[in-house]
Symmetry: D2
Subunit: 354 residues, 4 copies
Amino acid sequence: MKQTAKIMNSNKKIKVGIVGVTGYTGQVLLSLLAKHPNVQIHFLGSNASSGQLIQQTLPQFNHLASLPVLQKAEDINYAELDCIFTATPNGFAGKLAEEIIDSKVKLIDLSADLRFKDAQTYDEWYSPLKAPKAKVLESAVYGLPEFNRERIQQAQILANPGCYPTASALGILPLLQDALVTTEDIIIDAKSGTTGAGKKAEESLLFSEITESFSAYKVNKHRHTPEIEQSLQSFSKSENSSRIFVRFTPHLLPIKRGILCTIYLKPVKASLDSIKASFHKHYANKQFVKYVDETPATKHVYASNRCHINASLDERTGILIVTSAIDNLMKGAAGQAVQNFNLMFGLDESLGLI
Amino acid sequence: MKQTAKIMNSNKKIKVGIVGVTGYTGQVLLSLLAKHPNVQIHFLGSNASSGQLIQQTLPQFNHLASLPVLQKAEDINYAELDCIFTATPNGFAGKLAEEIIDSKVKLIDLSADLRFKDAQTYDEWYSPLKAPKAKVLESAVYGLPEFNRERIQQAQILANPGCYPTASALGILPLLQDALVTTEDIIIDAKSGTTGAGKKAEESLLFSEITESFSAYKVNKHRHTPEIEQSLQSFSKSENSSRIFVRFTPHLLPIKRGILCTIYLKPVKASLDSIKASFHKHYANKQFVKYVDETPATKHVYASNRCHINASLDERTGILIVTSAIDNLMKGAAGQAVQNFNLMFGLDESLGLI
Amino acid sequence: MKQTAKIMNSNKKIKVGIVGVTGYTGQVLLSLLAKHPNVQIHFLGSNASSGQLIQQTLPQFNHLASLPVLQKAEDINYAELDCIFTATPNGFAGKLAEEIIDSKVKLIDLSADLRFKDAQTYDEWYSPLKAPKAKVLESAVYGLPEFNRERIQQAQILANPGCYPTASALGILPLLQDALVTTEDIIIDAKSGTTGAGKKAEESLLFSEITESFSAYKVNKHRHTPEIEQSLQSFSKSENSSRIFVRFTPHLLPIKRGILCTIYLKPVKASLDSIKASFHKHYANKQFVKYVDETPATKHVYASNRCHINASLDERTGILIVTSAIDNLMKGAAGQAVQNFNLMFGLDESLGLI
Amino acid sequence: MKQTAKIMNSNKKIKVGIVGVTGYTGQVLLSLLAKHPNVQIHFLGSNASSGQLIQQTLPQFNHLASLPVLQKAEDINYAELDCIFTATPNGFAGKLAEEIIDSKVKLIDLSADLRFKDAQTYDEWYSPLKAPKAKVLESAVYGLPEFNRERIQQAQILANPGCYPTASALGILPLLQDALVTTEDIIIDAKSGTTGAGKKAEESLLFSEITESFSAYKVNKHRHTPEIEQSLQSFSKSENSSRIFVRFTPHLLPIKRGILCTIYLKPVKASLDSIKASFHKHYANKQFVKYVDETPATKHVYASNRCHINASLDERTGILIVTSAIDNLMKGAAGQAVQNFNLMFGLDESLGLI
């Protein structure tokens, strides 16, 4: 990591671009990076509002002076940048990655384009989009820092995990790694706030439709299903990793930010004590993930990069229930992206996040 | 009212059509009319979903059997109907009124098309739309039953009042009629739930934008301003009626249904007792409007056709504060439309509403 | 049912009392019964507000004239009544049932006191309360009309089911009866609005604590667990009924009314078609329960007595996901109580409910 | 300010205590001070949870290590502290101020105890509480930094303004100072989120009561009325300052955090340009208050210490409408308290706030 070292030594700021900055994830990214001590924001991309200052559409940024004018995504000049964050619809970052892979610029993508090792899975679940070239997919590193730190530190192209996959993997992986639960009986009943759906002007996302209601959606069909399975398979260190598959049911909560996953697992000769011990051991020196003694609420992690996890063992029925809570825009998106950024540039992992 | 009398005598159901039935107001109209003992629903118009059954888009109507298939608004055959309800965007009902004015069918319009006596006001505030022909405007009756009952009973074409104008007029008119407040110092600080904005897929109406926030909108520019003024001028019985004008500031509440108007008035030698007496007198035999001793909350009138009104006189500063609460989809739209329907067809005013 | 028949013949109104009328369930009961064509409200009990009119605390009832003054629960004179509804904290109705069991008055209890056939289960889960006498428990009929109609029609003492148990049983029982799912792998991930917790002035139920948050609670410990199991065991018609047990995880939604249960089941050689057919068959002539083709939302059953159910079979993982939605205050409490009342008094099942 | 200077020079941390840390304001204070570079948290007072760590009741503070155990408020040893923040019910800080006035410790009180120069006003509006001794009231400085900076910099005892008074004064004072509006016709229609009411376990503050509803409360009777008037009178620089009085109507919003004041004023020969110019001039170098071109929404200042202000002049009716938005827990309480703390200790005004 010569480049990074140089930047750090010279105290030179890291020049950053954000594409898709006016979306919900992009906004949080901007908030975080604008306060980050080592960052200079050099490019802000927004197709919808190009030519304007972001303050003109989003008055919450009124206090930020000297931000660059919004530009079209395509006008990004990556040679001028040290790092690009893409908070764009699926299909954009894959192409950008193909362009920049031979340059020095680093890419942190918050879309799904670079998450799959297997192009076929992407092609199938994200049809009619097509996966990026194999060279790019091979190069891309899945950015779950608690389980992939070393590769992240070396990454040029980083695939930032989805929100549901983050909350799910953090609640399951310690137990899979320690072989405390079976691989074949995983059920994830997940609930997300509305910013997870993005800033799309759709009837079904109107306040009048969502307030005072609750429902499941895309049952058995949500695109995060294969991502969760790949994540569990990659990091489980289990002999049975190829036989890990999950039933994943997402629901839409009438809240803005927050994900809670209620995960049903079959313990393998495991006591609640051994399960707690597993979580404590795996997250002992992970400052953003914490086992808590009461069932977590999304408000406890609101606007933070933390994940709270609790486990409950039903002796009567032999089921283990793990609940994990994150803020979908933080640990589930922009916060984790900044955590990955810190690791990729040799900075303290929590810089700009606490 | 020969026609009506005949219908009633023969116990024949009144054949009704609803145009714009899938909007928020249309939905509530359908709920009410489907339970109304004297109504047969004969036509349901929805341009967006024509060809379907309404249950296919709106499962809350699953319990209603034998509803007609949704049709294009333009396919309405008014000769087959006794009464048409239009819950359509502005611009539709005015033209329909021009067509049906020489027929026997009655029209109850919930848009703004037929509310203004003065075409110029409509042309100005609803530009680029144009007011309907003078013949239609003259014929149209403003449907505020508590102050215009007799004309409503004779109406063929009825302009159902706007939601803000209803809540405002009910809170002010008794005091203007009794000359207890000045005509020139009326301030209406109004707050509405999101269904008042209709089912428009706009970014600003997304759950993620509205929950946990609050703001004013269209300050000094809302189209209900001239309607409120016309309503107050028409029914005030005041010598100064031409000098009645209002400052009207609407705000958007993070709730689905409900309007609260906080109205600031200058009393003219009026005690709180005389003000209360005025409300009690005017609404003594009006079953849907009630003076209450505590400040009203929108939840107290949720899903009802009622209006709750309270007054508070600040002796220290000489200001009178009237608060009035309605459900914008009921007394502010569909409920009042059914109330008007009952009056127009010689039925008990509260039929299908309690 | 001589008595009932007599009442019906003579067109005499059924004299009804509601104890606990100012709670959320009690309020909805009052709304329904006040509009019920065969009911005369004769007694309203509220310890907190005795001596007042209900309108003084709850202005939403302002339109109801001639209601009796609120009295202490203990002042009920059951000899004057044909039917008592108890919407009281656990512990009250059991004692009342012991008193009235030898009289002619019928009792419909919305608390948990009379739901358990096995006193020991009640004593254990509702400690320190004690189950009512055996004579009462034997006499009490569990009021799930879709599966217990005939006994309900003959009941003097009726135990109205809990909200979670209703939504759960309606989503599972057809499949158990038709042996389409295993008995031992039932997981119910349930989410409820806040009125399910009652009108308790507790910090954890404050708006500031609940809005914009979500969490599980009482994981593995909720009192509805044994009730769900008893209900499934009683009505499953399964040889394995003694081996039916459930994992039940309740969550608190930031909404006022509504329950959604997401139920995970293991199908036994069942296709999705056979599962749908089972629901359609069982609910063919049940007007309040309906299989729907899209995943149900709680808003679709808001303020109605209906239950909407959908099933989804994940071929890939072999799991069946059933979602069922009710309004916890209606089909989950007061609405079902009125449905039971209609059956107990020989009336049309849906009277006052549609 | 010798003491302060010394602290700064030696780079010694400022030792701080927070009394009432588990309330909503106290929690935000703790979040801010825990990240403040010059602060060491030395005492945390909470009568309700004394003896525990704050993380045990409030898991959102799980990431904060090495906080002192919660103690009874009365156990505070002020001699060990440089600064005490009191986020306590009215009645506590007044007594504490009497104790510490002759010591070196500084006090920043977020209750109403020290806000009134006139003991009689406090005694009347806060009865049965009694105002602190005259010596204390004289010494206390009203902490509205945009209008009282110099006195704040010298203060030992600081009265942090109320939330409504802050939003009101910031929207009115520039215009009063520039004589652009009359002093006698001020109407403030104010709307606040529920945290403004504190963490009181009252029925009226339950989620079930507040969601999907809206109402005014304490019309003409809210205790912030005299505080707003005192603030306007103190800082207006107007000849008519004694004749400044306001009509203040608070409303409760179904949101957690946020205040919007809609202020009606009578302009005195003022154009909209002159009004905008006045705001721009007064807030030119005030980083936390900003005139914005669109009507502000509370979400734009959520969790920030900023105030956004907009003005609209209705030429037709001659009324000026000013809207001002703050976060009631930040600029309306804890944020402003930290801003005052920074000024009192000679630090950069925005330290720990941006």
